[in-house]
């Protein structure tokens, strides 16, 4: 019974700060009564129960699955005994597929895409932007897996990425920049992060010579950086094409 209750008690500590912030500022600083107090309390209780179940479920289902995929896709019976990086092509394909499909389905990305469509006056299409970001995430996670397999330190990749982003920013149309930078942060959702994180840890612990501590993390960093590049590139190309069309007229 205690074991059943413990996760709920732990979670209470996690949602207490935000509850305190909202209730505290409302009643003590603004000196206003809570509007719809009953609805708020019900909402918080639902968040509490929901989060607890979600975390337990993650540990029972998504974590083992992510690790299992990493173990099975790298096992000698599947890859063969010749272990050079190109023999792990199924890993790259799997990473690409997971990155692309979860991003396309991501609701917060849809919201950002609709806003981007408005800012650009319709020249950026909602669907093209979603596909652009999804390709960015997919390539990011694939390259991230490649890095774990070859074992190069992560910061070489990320810092190179920063330089590319800065160069792109210099040439990109001004009004897209903030959106492009944000698109990196919104793509990695609550369901995607755990599966991607365990894929990385699983890879680093099954491939010989890799340490999960040093090599296992970083896939999410790749997944947040590459969409910035792909969105900036996409904006640059649409801008260029539109200008050529205008010049032709």
């Amino acid at each position: 019974m205690v074991n059943l209750l413990q996760p709920f008690i732990n979670m209470l500590w996690d949602i207490a700060p935000i509850a305190l912030v909202l209730f505290g500022f409302q009643t003590l600083i603004l000196k206003q009564r809570m509007p719809n107090l009953k609805k708020m309390i019900v909402g918080f209780i639902l968040v509490w129960i929901g989060l607890t179940f979600f975390i337990i479920g993650l540990e029972k289902a998504l974590f083992p699955l992510g690790k299992l995929m990493a173990v099975q896709l790298t096992s000698p019976t599947f890859v063969g005994n010749n272990i050079s990086w190109e023999n792990y092509y199924w890993i790259y394909i799997f990473a690409f597929a997971i990155g692309f499909s979860t991003t396309i389905a991501e609701p917060s990305l849809l919201a950002v895409a609709i806003k981007a469509n408005q800012v650009s006056g319709g020249s950026i299409k909602t669907w093209s932007l979603r596909i652009t970001v999804a390709i960015g995430v997919a390539i990011g996670i694939s390259i991230g897996s490649y890095r774990i397999i070859i074992g190069t330190p992560i910061h070489y990749f990320i810092i190179t990425g920063y330089v590319v982003v800065l160069i792109q920013t210099y040439f990109a149309p001004k009004n897209i920049i903030a959106l492009a930078y944000d698109s990196g942060g919104v793509t990695t959702s609550t369901v995607t992060v755990p599966i991607v994180a365990t894929l990385g840890l699983g890879l680093a612990s099954t491939i010989e010579g890799r340490n999960p501590m040093i090599d296992g993390f970083g896939l999410i960093a790749f997944a947040s950086l590459f969409p910035i590049m792909s969105v900036l590139a996409y904006a640059q190309i649409t801008y260029f094409l539109n200008r050529r069309k205008k010049d032709a007229l």
């Binding site: 909202l22 968040v47 989060l51």
Partner: protein, 242 residues
């Protein structure tokens, strides 16, 4: 009662949509590419059910309680006009939402586990290491929101902030212990998720539309970009100090 049931089913379908791509991709790989058995299959099915049910309640509760009051409060503090209180609120909002962020809870626990397996922390320190990591990240997200709000008020350029952020990341990387770098770089993407993004976007866009000469589209966004950079630096500093 009937309406509540309908909303619940609607939310359940939405969570299923979130989970579907993962199930489809893994299912395809298991059946077509790998053709191996899945061990503990029933456990995984039950766990997936928990994820589905939990996510549904969580999102429903957010929309019912947390988001409306969060947005109303953000607007109230903008109208109030006291910059000090607005900044304090911004920090508290960033901090509070990040502590509750489920993806961060999960990644911080994994980070603590791996660190312990490497013998860098003791088993008894496991819980407190994960906690400290999360508090570090939450404080840095709070600071990011505060900086983001100041930026909108003062009209600073996002570009300059981001470039200085990148430079700081590069400089800190040179001094950080090797084992923390991967975790630090990941923490940037992990923090800005389900709870944090809608609330700080609401604050940013609300603020930008209330100040004359600011464009909500270009000034309101960008908060998330800062909040994905600062945690990277903070976690590396945490790694140096621990």
């Amino acid at each position: 009662m009937k309406i509540i049931f309908k909303i619940f089913i609607h939310n359940l379908l939405n969570s299923a949509k979130d989970l579907a791509p993962i199930v489809l991709v893994i299912g395809f790989f298991q059946l077509v590419v790998l053709q191996q058995n899945i061990p503990n299959f029933t456990d995984i099915v039950i766990g997936a059910g928990f994820v589905l049910f939990g996510l549904t309640l969580f999102v429903y509760g957010l929309n019912l309680g947390l988001f409306p009051i969060g947005e109303a409060l953000a607007l109230a503090f903008i109208k109030e006009g006291s910059i000090i209180w607005l900044l304090i609120f911004s920090f508290a909002l960033g901090f509070g939402t990040t502590i509750a962020e489920p993806a961060l809870i999960v990644v911080a626990n994994e980070a603590a586990n791996v660190t312990q397996l490497n013998g860098l922390i003791k088993k008894v320190e496991l819980q407190s290491y994960a906690q400290m990591l999360r508090y570090t990240i939450a404080i840095s997200v709070g600071l990011s929101v505060l900086i983001g709000v100041l930026r909108i008020i003062k009209g600073w350029s996002l570009m300059h902030l981001i470039i200085s952020g990148y430079l700081l990341v590069i400089i800190t990387t040179a001094f950080a212990p090797e084992y923390i770098i991967g975790i630090a770089y990941d923490s940037g993407g992990v923090t800005t998720s389900t709870i944090t993004v809608p609330l700080i976007t609401a604050l940013g866009v609300g603020l930008a539309s209330s100040i004359r000469g600011r464009n909500p589209m270009t000034d309101g966004f960008g908060m998330i970009a800062i909040a994905s950079l600062l945690p990277i630096i903070a976690v590396m500093i945490f790694g140096m100090l621990w």
